[in-house]
């Protein structure tokens, strides 16, 4: 396979500026929302003392998890030495960085005392997985940044494989850490499972690859760069496998819980009579977010088609957001069972399903995280050599030992 040149895109089209302006506006909105929450308090959000983590956390955790998954294409190129993916790797690493930046911005600005970020960076309780995550996240920036550098600068290119392998291990640990935020919570019936860490890893790869595909197809279309059906089909096929693996882990997680009598209540709530959470799980996460994309990505009629693949990837993202909503908010909506075998009532809403509806400020804050990732991606493809000049099927010829 001949070396494929990577070039910045022009980034002067209406499409580029339109999207960049949209991202800018959303980030501006995010800052307004943050200011409002800082001055008036979290009372202006839908979050309460019952549902303490809301939509901002759904988006933030999704972005952080997707960041790790977006690196998958780069990992295939370096850690698994698949030459097919090498020209696709720089964009993958850059997306990983901007997605993480978006997620962390939302988490940071949602804090009750976001002015104390410096406290979070100078005082550590090493028994807390949150404290560990601060190192995992900052390490991810440093390692993936260095990896990207080895891919973009030929003078240090010989270190690319090593950097890629370190990044691969680091992102597995990072997603383990993110999954463990929930897995270590013994108090809540819907969590407290070591399965959450590997589940998050598998789901992260699906979400990250879906976002990668959306950006790749969008950028190639916008910049007028050739993108072969074979290329799209191959990445899409791989995405399908991770969607399937995600479904498997989610199924095992719920089946394990269903086997435990004490978990039956919360499982019944999430899977059967939890209203919005049940609908989000079955309709959006399972059907629209997993089954339909699988059919699109693997069916001979649609696989490799750009429009169909964009639809499938967008559905995987939508399913991912639903999964996070059910995992984070559904689990809190279910009341803690302090006295098994008793009905409970109190002024603090014990024993009842906790309602939650996101307010405009927190929705805007959350959307800002997505905008940071979008803006970062736009800036990246314009100013860095991330995108190959051609991704025509001939350019990435098969038979290169990449299968």
């Amino acid at each position: 396979m001949a070396t494929i040149a990577l070039r910045e895109i022009e980034g002067r089209s209406r499409g580029w500026w339109g999207l960049f302006a949209l991202a800018g506006l959303l980030v501006l909105g995010m800052l307004f929302a943050w200011h409002a929450m800082e001055t008036r308090g979290h009372v202006i959000t839908g979050m309460t003392n019952q549902v303490v983590w809301g939509l901002p956390h759904v988006i933030a955790v999704f972005l952080i998890v997707a960041a790790s998954g977006a690196l998958n294409v780069a990992s295939a190129a370096s850690a698994f030495d698949k030459r097919f993916y090498k020209p696709l790797a720089p964009l993958s690493a850059w997306l990983a960085l901007v997605l993480l930046a978006g997620g962390l911005a939302v988490l940071g600005l949602d804090l009750g005392r976001s002015d104390r970020l410096v406290v979070a960076m100078t005082h550590f309780n090493f028994k807390s997985i949150f404290a560990w995550n601060m190192f995992l996240y900052s390490g991810f920036f440093a390692i993936v940044g260095a990896y990207l550098w080895t891919m973009l600068d030929r003078t240090v290119g010989r270190h690319a494989t090593l950097a890629g392998r370190v990044a691969f291990v680091w992102r597995l640990v990072l997603t383990t850490g993110t999954g463990s935020i929930f897995g270590f919570l013994v108090a809540r019936e819907a969590y407290a499972s070591a399965l959450l860490a590997p589940t998050f890893i598998v789901l992260s790869i699906a979400y990250g690859m879906a976002i990668y595909l959306l950006v790749l197809i969008g950028a190639c279309a916008g910049a007028g760069r050739p993108l072969g059906r074979g290329v799209v089909e191959r990445i899409g096929r791989l995405l399908g496998w991770f969607v399937l693996a995600g479904l498997y882990f989610v199924a095992v997680f719920h089946l394990t819980n269903l086997y435990l009598a004490k978990q039956a209540g919360v499982e019944r709530f999430l899977l059967l009579d939890g209203g919005v959470y049940t609908s989000l799980f079955w309709v959006v996460q399972v059907l629209l977010g997993s089954v339909v994309p699988l059919v699109i990505l693997w069916s001979p009629a649609t696989r490799g088609r750009r429009g169909a693949t964009v639809l499938a990837a967008a559905l995987v993202v939508l399913g991912g957001l639903a999964q996070m909503y059910v995992t984070i908010i559904g689990a809190q909506a279910w009341p803690l069972d302090l006295f098994p075998g008793y009905e409970m009532r109190s002024s603090f809403y014990d024993g009842v399903i906790h309602p939650y509806a996101p307010s405009l400020p927190e929705a805007v804050l959350a959307a800002g995280g997505l905008a940071i990732a979008l803006g970062g991606a736009l800036v990246g493809v314009k100013f860095l050599r991330l995108l190959p000049v051609s991704l025509a099927d001939e350019a990435l010829a098969p038979g290169d030992g990449a299968h």
Binding site: G112, N125, Y342
Partner: protein
């Protein structure tokens, strides 16, 4: 030059004189500290706790400067839980608050160390270190913690609170450090119920230890093995 030195010397001396009384007043109060020989705890006798009685809740709100509101955003450091056994219909009423665990999950998960356990077993939140991430609220098995959702006014000087921070029952640490018991315990006694008993769990001769020895006591969510400082009888 000499004039300036003399001036600086005088200023330093005057400054020292001005600060010294404050230091002297402050230091003895600090020097005492919490002792690990003591483990403060509470015993709740649910057979004496009456349904509908909220004297402990009112006393807590008054002592700690809480609004007493019961909206979803309001802080509730102590609440009354009414229980009904599903099979027998037996009813129970009891107060629920921070259980002051020996192995507190809130302390484990707190990224900055703001949630901490004092040497004498009282679990507190350092208002200067809390970043308001609410991870402790996710981790607490007793739903004992509240997040301050709104700006605060007219706070009580010895019970500092803060918007954007998490808070919970402190066992009225300000009173304990003065040698008194928590406000809820006193209020329950005033009501004539004496359902709450406060004392040193490490002292075998304390009233709380004696009564626990005589009649036994249970921990809520004992399966989690958190070794709670608040124990219950009659459940």
């Amino acid at each position: 030059m000499n004039g300036r030195r003399a001036f600086l010397g005088t200023a330093a001396a005057l400054g020292g004189v001005a600060i010294a009384p404050g230091l002297l007043l402050f230091e003895p109060a600090r020097a005492k500290g919490a002792s690990s020989k003591v483990r403060w705890g509470m015993l709740v006798d649910t057979t004496r706790c009456a349904e509908g009685c909220t004297a402990c809740v009112s006393a807590c709100n008054k002592e700690n400067g809480l609004s007493g509101g019961t909206g979803p955003d309001d802080s509730q450091w102590i609440r009354k839980i009414e229980l009904k056994e599903k099979t027998t219909g037996r009813t129970l009423s009891l107060p629920m608050m921070c259980q002051h665990c020996a192995e507190p999950p809130c302390v484990d998960v707190c990224p900055t160390g703001a949630s901490f356990k004092r040497a004498d077993g009282i679990v507190l939140v350092d208002r200067h270190l809390c970043i308001g991430c609410r991870y402790c609220m996710m981790a607490c098995p007793y739903k004992a913690r509240s997040f301050v959702h709104e700006p605060l006014h007219d706070q009580k000087p010895d019970v500092p609170r803060g918007q954007g921070c998490v808070e919970s029952c402190t066992l009225c640490v300000q009173r304990v450090d003065r040698g008194e018991g928590p406000a809820c315990v006193e209020a329950c006694k005033t009501e004539g119920r004496e359902a709450l008993l406060f004392g040193d769990l490490n002292d075998p001769n304390s009233a709380v230890s004696k009564r626990m020895r005589e009649r036994g006591a249970k921990q809520i969510r004992a399966d989690l093995q958190l070794d709670t400082g608040v124990r219950y009888q009659g459940i």
